[in-house]
């Protein structure tokens, strides 16, 4: 009894000291983005259900966000070095889940993207992205002085290649690209040889056309729409054209929440998922979309700051891994919506509806808080 009280007091003290360095900015940006996602999701649901707005998706997102917050705080309160210890099981867990998804995945738009457990869709590729940041961070931080060697590059590439191949087979081109982006970002930040990276990047670019050939026809067509949307206005490029019309219609100030005509009339197919930024742009206008981009920019800035201030390379690598992932997803998703990036199925972090994406990201943010709270300055 007495021992327990003592332990609890000690823990409280330790925590209290650490929680003082809890990054409020990071938390604020995260919450702002989640709320924005909720609001935009409501607007989309409003369109789909007519006057009686469909709340079920909003409610689901709230539930997911609540679960996410618990995970966020749990991750924040645990020393992130535990993850280093668990890296091997985590990696095997990721491979196992991705293989499982490939085998029994639910058919959604022709691709096996998720599996359904107790009525809830789990997109394990979303969880895998964050977990792979952890795996790579452990690997790269462990390389220490050998980090500049070719073996580091090859090792990291091989580690990443297996899950990438598994998601590519689903086929989920978007997540595969995110894996590659995480790899490149983390390698670069780890101090890997720029020369070798250049060679590898060149080789990847060289084989890219071959990979494109293995894609399904619909994916290929969608991929190249952004180069010439008029090529197939009724078919593959229909989404893109309607999206551009919607973004343009937003103007400076937007048409107002739940008042976007393109959105409300259903011209943005699957708008609640990948094209959610279109709704932001249409309903909130240029001001609103720039504001959202600014929040994203500040978030990435905070993450980089946390990485810079991390106590060790593990924390730093985790931060830059998550930053790479977010930056790439924002670039491709928003770029796609505004017609400067190919149409791939990459969600907009925090805003695109999806429980697995949301809790994965919040888990990642929790790790960052842990990195922050175990940073150099407060410790010394």
């Amino acid at each position: 009894m007495g021992a327990t009280t003592l332990t609890a007091t000690l823990v409280d003290n330790v925590r209290a000291r650490r929680w003082r360095s809890f990054d409020l900015q990071l938390c604020l940006y995260m919450v702002l983005l989640i709320v924005l996602g909720l609001v935009m999701g409501y607007s989309v649901g409003y369109a789909e259900a007519g006057d009686a707005a469909d709340l079920s998706q909003t409610v689901k997102t709230l539930i997911w966000a609540t679960i996410g917050l618990i995970i966020f705080f749990t991750a924040a309160s645990v020393d992130y070095h535990w993850l280093q210890t668990l890296t091997m099981p985590i990696y095997l867990f990721v491979l196992g889940l991705l293989a499982l998804t490939l085998m029994i995945g639910t058919n959604l738009f022709g691709a096996q993207l998720s599996i359904t457990v107790a009525g809830l869709d789990f997109q394990f590729s979303e969880v895998a992205k964050v977990l792979m940041v952890v795996v790579l961070a452990t690997f790269l931080s462990g390389r220490r002085e050998k980090v500049g060697k070719l073996s580091t590059l090859v090792g990291a590439a091989v580690l990443m290649a297996i899950p990438t191949a598994l998601v590519f087979r689903q086929p989920d081109l978007g997540t595969a690209l995110v894996f590659v982006a995480i790899l490149i970002g983390m390698l670069f930040m780890s101090g890997a040889s720029i020369g070798w990276m250049g060679i590898f990047t060149g080789a990847t670019v060289a084989v890219a056309p071959l990979l494109v050939q293995t894609l399904e026809n619909y994916q290929r067509q969608r991929l190249f729409c952004f180069l010439d949307p008029g090529a197939d206005p009724q078919g593959a490029c229909y989404q893109l054209i309607q999206s551009l019309n919607a973004v343009g219609s937003g103007g400076l100030f937007g048409q107002g929440l739940t008042a976007g005509r393109q959105n409300q009339l259903g011209f943005l197919p699957v708008q609640s998922t990948d094209f959610i930024f279109t709704v932001v742009a249409e309903e909130l206008g240029f001001i609103g979309s720039i504001l959202v981009l600014v929040i994203f920019g500040l978030l990435i800035w905070r993450i980089l700051a946390i990485g810079w201030g991390a106590r060790d390379a593990l924390g730093m690598m985790m931060a830059v891994g998550l930053a790479s992932m977010l930056l790439f997803q924002i670039m491709v998703n928003v770029g796609m919506v505004i017609g400067i990036m190919p149409v791939t199925g990459i969600p907009l972090p925090f805003i695109t509806y999806g429980g697995s994406s949301l809790i994965s990201l919040m888990f990642g943010m929790g790790i960052l808080q842990s990195v922050r709270m175990h940073a150099r300055k407060p410790t010394f």
Binding site: S249, G250, L268, L304, D312
Partner: protein
């Protein structure tokens, strides 16, 4: 720049690479921001306009199709609302098609196979609504509405369909089917040509009868409405009416539905009496060319077409050797037999081959000039008649008299007089599918690889056999021209068009195709001959009818085909006649032709049919019809 951390050598933390990362991030955000500025602020209005354009759609407003009335103002074609099941292929998942169509078929009492055929035959945009079953019951429509959640892509709409009526105002597609015709869905090939005229992919178009020949007037002009549409192509709400639809014109037919009924009953009776499968009766006003009744049997039921005829029903029509879908009165040609002697006779008088009074020998068998001895053409009367003049030869229908006339006329004069009277050319009646017919000529001979027709062929053509084939309407029109004093009239079926308010907007006047290049005296001679047919010829007891005016006419039979075991050939029989309907008038105002296709019973059933028609139409309180067993009494020529 290594960092010592709890005694462990850690990764170098490169400030340069952090800066590089931040710069890349800033660059990416800048590009996104600039692009957004370009899209939303610089070109915002452009995109907004394009969005509005792609969100609105011009929805056509169909115009009500024009109605059809008979000359007494009886409605013959009306529009009735009808429930139509339609499918939008884009909303019907491929995997569910079978189940959905099976359920719809079950509810509407149709075949899933038929529905699938209609759906597959459509081949339009997947956003187009495809009508798969028309005229379903209200009950079925309600159930489909209730089950809409489990029947994706299926909608029920109220579309007007055509209902064809008879003289009593009852739905009866068989009375006037060949005149009124029917409408049917446009197919994809037609649609490509018609889309510019405002036709819709699920539109109907006139397929036969006046529905086809007056398509443009009946259809009206479709209006247009601007609608906001959703991404699925569905119209959501109306913004404004761009153009009001103009209802189709109503047609006023020249036909009298009650006369059509009487003529149909008479023809049906006669055909049944002698076991004939095909027959025609046409009644016209010889002064104007107005068709008063036009019966072609067997008829088809055009109400079956109004809701979309089933493949089975259609096949039954196609398989019937009597071809019910064809209007035999204008679309088919037959040898006219002795009725054609009018043409030969008038031509002989006009060409100076003979005069009204000149007597010609007649023979049991007429030796063909220039042919070897013994090659002769028989008269139907194997005894011969002795010397005859034109009127008596026509009245008694002497074959050998007219062989001589034809041969002396020669092929050119004969052919040109046949053409003068309207044979070998379409009459121009406003009904689709008219045939031109065949008249013996040098041209025809050349098409057979000869310089000229054989003399025997010419002689036979002179009595309406061999190289002569006419439509019943052509024959009637030729007799009408002689009856009215020499005007070949254009047969007409529509007198005028009215607008939706009943105001006459178009009047069709009787049209003279040509004035015959024949003298009044010669026309009169032929009319006397036609009168003599009734009074002293062999038209049996038709002279006993107490008709309001003097009846004139001509019988005809034409043998064809192969001999039966008793040595008789099947033959067509004709009777064509005209009379004034008012006592004291000499201007015939009613001309009638009846044709029956192929009988083996001796006798002229067409004569009996006309007799029945006249006694019923003029309400003579007489019944001089023959007992069908007595048909052998009628002289067969």
């Amino acid at each position: 720049m290594a960092d010592l951390n709890e005694g462990r050598l850690d990764l170098p933390r490169s400030r340069a690479r952090f800066v590089a990362f931040a710069v890349v991030a800033a660059l990416i955000f800048s590009i996104l921001g600039v692009r957004l500025f370009h899209l939303q602020v610089v070109r915002g209005e452009e995109y907004a306009a394009e969005a509005v354009r792609s969100r609105t759609v011009e929805v056509p407003i169909p115009a009500p199709r024009g109605l059809v009335y008979d000359r007494q103002g009886r409605a013959l074609v009306v529009n009735v609302p009808s429930w139509t099941v339609k499918v939008r292929p884009a909303d019907l998942p491929a995997g569910a098609t079978g189940r959905v169509l099976r359920r719809v078929a079950e509810l509407t009492g149709s075949e899933p196979r038929t529905l699938r055929q209609r759906l597959n035959a459509f081949q339009g945009s997947p956003f187009d609504l495809v009508p798969i079953e028309r005229g379903i019951s209200r009950q079925a429509a309600l159930i489909i509405g209730e089950e809409s959640a489990s029947l994706p892509g299926v909608v029920v709409e109220v579309d007007p369909i055509r209902r064809y009526l008879d003289d009593q105002g009852a739905a009866n597609g068989k009375l006037l089917s060949h005149i009124l015709g029917y409408t049917g869905p446009v197919n994809l090939d037609e649609f490509r040509d018609l889309a510019d005229d405002g036709y819709l992919r699920d539109d109907v178009i006139g397929r036969a009868g006046v529905e086809a020949s007056f398509e443009e007037a009946l259809r009206g002009t479709y209006g247009a409405e601007l609608w906001v549409r959703d991404a699925g192509g569905r119209a959501v709400n109306s913004l404004e009416t761009l153009q009001e639809p103009v209802p189709g014109k109503n047609l006023m037919l020249t036909l009298d539905a009650r006369m059509q009924r009487v003529a149909t009953d008479a023809l049906r009776w006669g055909m049944k009496a002698v076991g004939v499968e095909q027959g025609v009766t046409v009644v016209m006003n010889p002064q104007t060319g107005e068709i008063l009744a036009m019966v072609s049997l067997p008829a088809y039921d055009n109400n079956k077409f109004a809701t979309g005829i089933s493949a089975e029903d259609y096949q039954v029509y196609l398989d019937n050797p009597a071809r019910p879908l064809r209007n035999h009165a204008i679309a088919d040609i037959y040898p006219p037999g002795s009725t054609f002697k009018l043409v030969t006779g008038l031509a002989a008088l006009e060409a100076g081959v003979t005069t009204a009074g000149r007597l010609w020998p007649t023979y049991a068998c007429y030796q063909i000039p220039g042919a070897p001895d013994g090659q002769c053409l028989y008269d139907w009367n194997r005894q011969g008649f002795g010397p005859l003049n034109m009127v008596d030869a026509f009245a008694h229908s002497s074959d050998t008299f007219f062989y001589q006339m034809a041969i002396r006329l020669g092929i050119d004069a004969f052919g040109s007089w046949a053409e003068e009277l309207g044979f070998g050319e379409r009459s121009g009646i406003a009904l689709p599918g008219e045939a031109a017919g065949i008249v013996a000529s040098r041209e025809w001979a050349r098409s057979q690889g000869r310089e000229n027709v054989f003399t025997g062929e010419l002689a036979q053509a002179g009595i309406g056999q061999n190289v002569v084939a006419v439509t019943p309407v052509q024959l009637l029109n030729a007799y009408a021209a002689v009856a009215n004093g020499g005007k070949l009239m254009r047969p007409m079926v529509v007198r005028g068009e009215t607008d939706a308010d009943g105001k006459l907007v178009e009047r069709y006047k009787p049209e003279v195709i040509r004035r015959l290049d024949a003298s009044a005296a010669n026309l009169r001679t032929m009319r006397i001959g036609a009168r003599e047919v009734i009074t002293s010829g062999h038209a049996y007891n038709i002279r006993d009818l107490r008709l309001p005016g003097a009846l004139s006419g001509k019988t005809g039979t034409a043998e064809f085909g192969t001999r039966s075991r008793r040595g008789t050939l099947p033959f067509h029989s004709w009777f064509v006649a005209y009379l004034p309907s008012n006592a004291g008038s000499t201007d015939a105002d009613l001309a009638v032709v009846t044709f029956s296709y192929s009988a083996v019973v001796p006798g002229n059933v067409s004569l009996a049919v006309v007799k029945y028609f006249l006694q019923e139409w003029y309400d003579l309180k007489q019944d001089l019809r023959l007992d069908p067993r007595d048909f052998s009494l009628v002289t067969a020529n």
